[in-house]
Amino acid sequence: MPEIKDDPDSIPNPTRLFRRIHPDMIVMDQNSGQRRPTSANFSDSSDGTPMSVYAENIALANGEKPEDYLQGRWASFFLAAVIAGNMREHGQEVYPDPENQDADEVFQSHAAVKGKKDNKTRKKLGEKSEWVIPPPKDQQK
């Protein structure tokens, strides 16, 4: 099977890539006065597969909404986004990957971010992230 490559035609650089954020993987950034996802959120999966995201352009075309990604077992999570172009600036390949999802959830916008993610890269990606569905104010320190 041919290796999947970066696909800026399907996911252009300005596209927001949604990433689920575990509630324990958020820190207070006193420099900005806001909470933010830790850099560890921007890692590949623990099974070694590339980092999973949802591409906003494909989501819009398929009627998916950000809150759809936080249903069921993901209900306690929050949602952040990094621009596809930022991922590519840090050596990542971004491409649609609708086939590699758990059977209990299928989103056409599912995409992969493939590439080496060392500590420095993860930190940069974390700094570039923005909240889409943030933790409520009363959970913020």
Partner: protein, 192 residues
């Protein structure tokens, strides 16, 4: 930010413990006289009297032998306790439980470069069962990851005032930088 959070039982007069459900045991002995940081050590054994059940088999015991617990250490306890409650699969994607070895590695490193007035870290889990410590304050960002597959922490530092001062590398090779950083900038003593 509040740097001190109460932990029941933590006092200057004797050991305190964190417990969770895992059968993994460690004791952290922390000398409270900062001039004797080098006396710090970790014991792997556990007094039989504290081995009551598997539900409460994992704990870290802080055995202060001196005058006071540094505020950063006391402030760290709730975060460590939270990490110890995360069971396998906590991230819904098959992440292992947070390993005691990673927590101990992190505490060992902190003792090496923190002083008694250092700013407390924020403790968070990593998907591979390790821990990450974050400081984002006073115009600097510092992250140190303690991965279960590594023998020591890996730090990434950035300075908002001058990105030429940014660096990354292992804790051991940057010990001097870390000591200076916590003495000069990441220090609760100077925070209003």
């Amino acid at each position: 930010m509040s740097t001190t959070m109460p932990w029941p039982g933590l006092s200057n007069s004797g050991p305190s413990s964190l417990t969770d459900r895992y059968n993994d045991i460690g004791i952290i002995e922390v000398p409270m006289d900062v001039s004797r940081w080098s006396c710090y050590r970790i014991r792997e054994s556990l007094p039989s009297t504290t081995r009551k059940s598997r539900q409460h088999a994992a704990y870290i015991e802080l055995s202060p032998d001196g005058a006071s617990v540094p505020s950063w250490l006391e402030a760290s306890l709730p975060g460590i306790e939270r990490l110890m409650t995360l069971s396998a699969g906590w991230d819904q994607q098959g992440a292992p439980a947070i390993q005691m070895s990673a927590i101990k590695m992190a505490l060992s490193a902190l003792i090496e470069f923190m002083n008694e007035t250092s700013s407390a870290p924020q403790w968070t889990p990593t998907p591979r069962g390790g821990v990450q410590l974050d400081w984002h304050e006073r115009g600097v960002d510092l992250e140190i990851e303690f991965d279960t597959n590594a023998t020591q922490g890996y730090a990434v530092f950035s300075d908002h005032r001058n990105d030429e001062l940014d660096w990354d590398g292992t804790v051991a090779e940057n010990l001097g930088r870390l000591k200076s950083l916590f003495m000069d900038r990441l220090n609760a003593r100077d925070q209003g």
